[in-house]
């Protein structure tokens, strides 16, 4: 796992959580949208927080695609669930929400799960699968490097 790959995984976690928090902040300031006036959602798109949230979520998607290009899905998902912890901490210090003992327990479980997966390889390929995927590969990176 080199620096670029670590940064990509961190990007997935950070962009997703910051994007959600920015969107939540923008939409809360905007207020509830009723079904009768659903077109008012378009004026929410002008809120700077909503715009920031959408940009961050786009950045999340790019780093997510990039992460999946070099690591297994069952590696990327647990590894980037650290974002949930970041989001809980952002909610506490930035949105001033309370973190209950139940949430702290959840944060601990996520951290343990990430610890488990991080100690293994990022990419697992058997021969059958490599042959299956080989058809369309543009280059031949050293598979299994992590």
């Amino acid at each position: 796992m080199n620096l670029r790959k670590l940064a990509t995984l961190a990007g997935v976690a950070l962009f997703a959580s910051c994007g959600d928090v920015a969107l939540a902040r923008g939409m809360k300031a905007f207020g509830a949208i009723s079904l009768a006036h659903w077109t008012s959602i378009f004026s929410a798109l002008l809120s700077p927080w909503v715009i920031l949230g959408i940009c961050l979520l786009l950045a999340f998607f790019v780093s997510y695609l990039s992460a999946l290009s070099f690591a297994d899905l069952t590696y990327v998902l647990p590894a980037t669930s650290l974002g949930y912890i970041v989001m809980a901490l952002l909610a506490k210090f930035f949105l001033h929400e309370n973190i209950s003992i139940l949430r702290w327990t959840g944060i601990l479980l996520i951290a343990l799960g990430v610890g488990f997966v991080a100690r293994g390889p990022a990419l697992t390929l058997d021969h059958e699968r490599s042959a299956d995927l080989a058809g369309n590969v543009h280059h031949a990176p050293a598979r299994g490097e992590s």
């Binding site: 647990p78 959840g106 697992t124």
Partner: protein, 126 residues
């Protein structure tokens, strides 16, 4: 009936997002490491590999279906049930799907990670 609708839409979220994640993961494995591709062939090659990838688009389509099911589920029940239930179940279904359809080696370590994270997410988001 409200509970039935809620759980059916939660299962729809789980199903659609899992299919989306598997398709996107499969597409990106075929493209190969984007970092190498960028270094060797430049941004144009990366964009071409992405935009011409039908599997990737199919994955994005299923992700969108998952998002709309989430909106539907939220209209039937509270975010404190729908959010953690769908996020947490998706971690588990993704582990099954990755083993079955992506042939990833999901060993005991990865099962433990998926279970711990699913439980943790359920608690954090509750």
């Amino acid at each position: 009936m409200k509970h039935l609708y809620t759980w059916v839409s939660i299962l729809a979220v789980v199903l659609f997002s899992t299919v989306g994640d598997v398709l996107i993961s499969r597409a990106m494995k075929r493209v190969g490491d984007l970092g190498h591709l960028f270094k060797d062939h430049g941004l144009l090659a990366v964009s071409k590999a992405m935009f011409t990838n039908a599997t990737l688009w199919a994955g994005v389509f299923f992700m969108a279906l998952g998002f709309f099911s989430l909106m539907t589920a939220l209209s039937w029940n509270d975010v404190s049930l729908v959010g953690p239930a769908s996020a947490s179940l998706t971690f588990l279904s993704n582990a099954f799907a990755a083993k079955l359809f992506l042939r990833e080696r999901v060993d005991r370590r990865r099962w433990m990670a998926a279970l711990l994270v699913a439980a943790g997410v359920a608690l954090v988001a509750a």
